[in-house]
Symmetry: C2
């Protein structure tokens, strides 16, 4: 059982989709990552920050999933990070309506002492310098560091971002961001350029079209499960990352072959996440539901051509 | 060894891509389908029409691939169907520059007597009434009829198209066309509606994102091989269809499990087609190259999660 440290936002989201809208509900990258990772046999801690307005019941929810929250700083006089967005009809694009950084503006993450020797570190989407400060607190080199980021940091903090990219083993990034980061349209060419920036493993997320895992000249492809209806895509990418690191942490195996399985677990968990608003589906997800969906993934992808 | 009848265009194409442009070269749906199917152990015939301007060497090329061309009508005083198009930089969209129907305008396909009992019929993209006339010439009900079509016929001959759709076992269609035909955005919902129109098997082609095979509640997903460079997408969809029907014809097995393999063979052959202009790559493709790429497809998609 490996230790897994997740740094990222624990936040409020307000979401509008063609199917409805929510008030402020539980959100944040670290929340989605943690809930997904909690499906695996790991010793997981979240490092984050919330304000005095953050309900205790949300923190209790994470604790009940056996997630250590001693690294979640509570700023009583502050307000919790808040994001609000509206999805277009095709669910592939969205407008950000509100971003209130609040306590996140001065977030200085502190990794609890008990987790400074964690084997696996997941750097959720945050300012690259914040991500770096977590890496610098580790008492030994982690076995695997996974980075998630987004185009916002490419536009506003590219040099810092390149610095943190150079120090991680795995990067997860979506297709448009991979193109922006590298100036390459072909995802094969983009992945090669990103390899050159540091990460030996590059995961390119393509939303409803699945995800690609690149490692040198090797490629693995995990489709997204074809769904009748995507109810709310919020958190799907983080849930994917959480499934990925959770599986790696529980197996302790960072080989490319095992990462293929990790990508399938990530896709499987993400396929649940989008079925309801926010974290709702992930809160009550059972092992037997996951097992059933893994069977579907096998049927979806496995074939029997015999090659001599 | 099953008999396979392919109806479709044998034509001239002139293609412009970001990588260069061609004069009039060999093209046409039936040409691409036939060249792909010729990789398998089948007794294949093309039913089509060409004009007096069509070079004998192109016909010889098809014959050398053991394709029966007795059903390719030669109209000496006529001109061959000609299409010209220009691809945009992303290679996912194109503008049609020229469409000259020429001899195709009066095409009345005649299936050679020796092929009227064919087990497998591939209806390449043509006017739905032309496709229907081929079906009506068959002396017994084929084991499998596969239909390819496009949005043009949805706009101009929808009732005829629905008629032919109701008489086939498999339809291949791209994602946007599936949405247009059904009014459903979700491809799962679109496939279900198309099932209701007749075909028990629905293949939805998503270009660089691969292809989905639907059969009742079962889905299979074949990715496209991630390529560094797509040189010319012309004919990729037809090559996919040709690999699909060629494999089915050579195995004689029309089960869903075997169709999974057929979809993989279709994707594999299509991944070669786009490497050079027009049919160039398909003309010289070897069995050993195909074998190597099938190994790549296995590495790309197969994983080892044990499910009890």
């Amino acid at each position: 059982m490996s230790k897994l440290v997740i740094v990222g936002t624990v936040a409020f989201d307000a979401i509008e989709t063609p199917f409805g809208k929510t008030d402020k509900i539980l959100g944040g990258a670290a929340t989605f990552i943690g809930l997904a990772a909690s499906q695996f046999n790991t010793d997981t801690a979240i490092v984050s920050i919330v304000g005095g307005d953050f309900p205790q019941k949300y923190l209790d929810l994470l604790s009940k999933k056996s997630i250590d929250i001693s690294g979640v700083e509570l700023v009583k006089e502050g307000k919790t990070f808040f994001w609000s967005g509206k999805y277009h009809n095709d669910m592939n694009s969205r407008d950000t309506l509100i971003t209130e950084l609040n306590v996140l503006a001065d977030f200085k993450p502190i990794v609890p002492n008990a987790y400074r020797d964690a084997e696996i570190v997941m750097l959720g989407n945050l300012h690259p310098l914040t991500q770096l400060s977590v890496l610098n607190q580790m008492s030994k080199t982690p076995k695997l560091v996974v980075l998630d980021t987004m185009n916002f940091w490419m536009n506003s903090a590219l040099e810092d971002l390149k610095n943190v990219i150079s120090r991680v083993n795995v990067i997860t990034i979506n297709d448009e961001e991979a193109r922006q980061l590298t100036g390459e349209f072909s995802l094969v060419a983009a992945a090669r350029k990103i390899h050159g920036m540091g990460p030996k493993y590059v995961v390119i997320k393509k939303g409803e079209h699945g995800a690609l895992l690149f490692h040198d000249e090797n490629v693995f492809y995990a489709p997204a499960l074809p769904l009748e209806e995507v109810f709310d895509p919020t958190g799907a990418g983080d849930t994917f990352a959480g499934g990925f690191v959770g599986y790696i942490a529980s197996t302790g195996d960072t080989s490319f072959e095992n990462m293929k399985n990790a990508v399938i677990y990530g896709s499987t968990l993400a396929s649940f996440c989008v079925e309801k608003f926010g974290t709702e589906r992930m809160q009550n997800l059972t092992k037997s539901e996951i097992h059933k969906r893994l069977v579907q993934f096998k049927q979806l992808t496995q074939f029997e051509i015999e090659l001599s």
